[in-house]
Subunit: 178 residues, 2 copies
């Protein structure tokens, strides 16, 4: 994410980035990902291919950057009024999103990023928001929630023949709350 | 793994496969992976590039096939005389292997395989071997061990800024044994 640091919002550099990100997202929605190329993105974004190469290095780095940006949640986790309820809502949505074709592609792209660790930072931020709502119920710490909820969700999607079932997810939540 | 089914051991097809796998492994050890190409592998294996394309389709499918083959454990899990001891030995070795550069590359390659689910089958087989040694200690089922030990190990390597610490792994083993 280093490339974003120090960008003046609304400055030329920030506008180029936004335009390239938007072009990439639109092309990924409209085309097979293997057919999307840097010249296509450049044409749509109204920049030259060399602008993209200079700034991102190559296509996989750009895709990783866009994937990380998309992983940034666009809202607070749902507030259901209970810790268990919030965790269920969050974990079920996470399972849904990551199991989808765009979710799988995001996970694949993010691994090519210079900063894949940012994923866990994002997830940790959301779980921390939930945990902070219930200080009186001695909530589990966020690392435990990451290990017991996010990890099995993603691992099973990437490396098993079937994703986690919702019932298994609920069992893992109970274990995390013990 | 379909391409391996029905191969006559020692037959021409099996010999081609072994030779291509060996050439790939040797080249991956000697060169940056991004510089390894199908023509290089073909030359070393003594086959034509078209033999490789016909059989595997493309380089990423061949790398995935080789990675899956390497993930196949070459020995039984260590037998320490206790369930806890066997799980610790297995999980520490798994963490070690997957954190290494070849381990990370294997995980990346396997995701391009047609059968990434085979990973969990391999891991499950090893954990089942351990569990079957201790029928009297009401061992946890294998899915629980996969979710609580293998998943956090791999997830943290791929998506967090730091891998699991051995102490965290031990805590997860205690949780799995509860």
């Amino acid at each position: 994410m280093a490339i974003k640091e120090g960008l003046r919002p609304g400055g030329r550099s920030a506008r180029v980035q936004e335009s390239v990100h938007n072009a990439t997202r639109e092309l990924l929605e409209a085309h097979e990902r293997s057919s999307v190329t840097v010249p296509m993105i450049a044409a749509r974004a109204g920049v030259t291919p060399s602008t993209i190469y200079r700034r991102w290095g190559d296509l996989s780095a750009l895709l990783a950057d866009v994937a990380l940006e998309r992983m940034r949640p666009d809202s607070e986790p749902a507030n259901t009024g209970s810790l268990r309820g919030d965790l269920r809502a969050w974990a079920e949505q996470y399972l849904d999103e990551m199991s989808s074709e765009p979710g799988r592609n995001m996970m694949r792209d993010v691994q090519c990023s210079q900063t894949p660790g940012y994923c866990v930072t994002l997830i940790g931020g959301q779980l921390q928001t939930i945990v902070d709502r219930y200080p009186d119920s001695a909530p589990p710490n966020v690392d435990r929630l990451i290990n017991l909820l996010a990890a099995p969700t993603v691992f099973r999607i990437l490396f098993a023949s079937a994703p986690l079932q919702v019932e298994e997810l609920h069992e893992l939540i109970e274990l995390a709350l013990e």
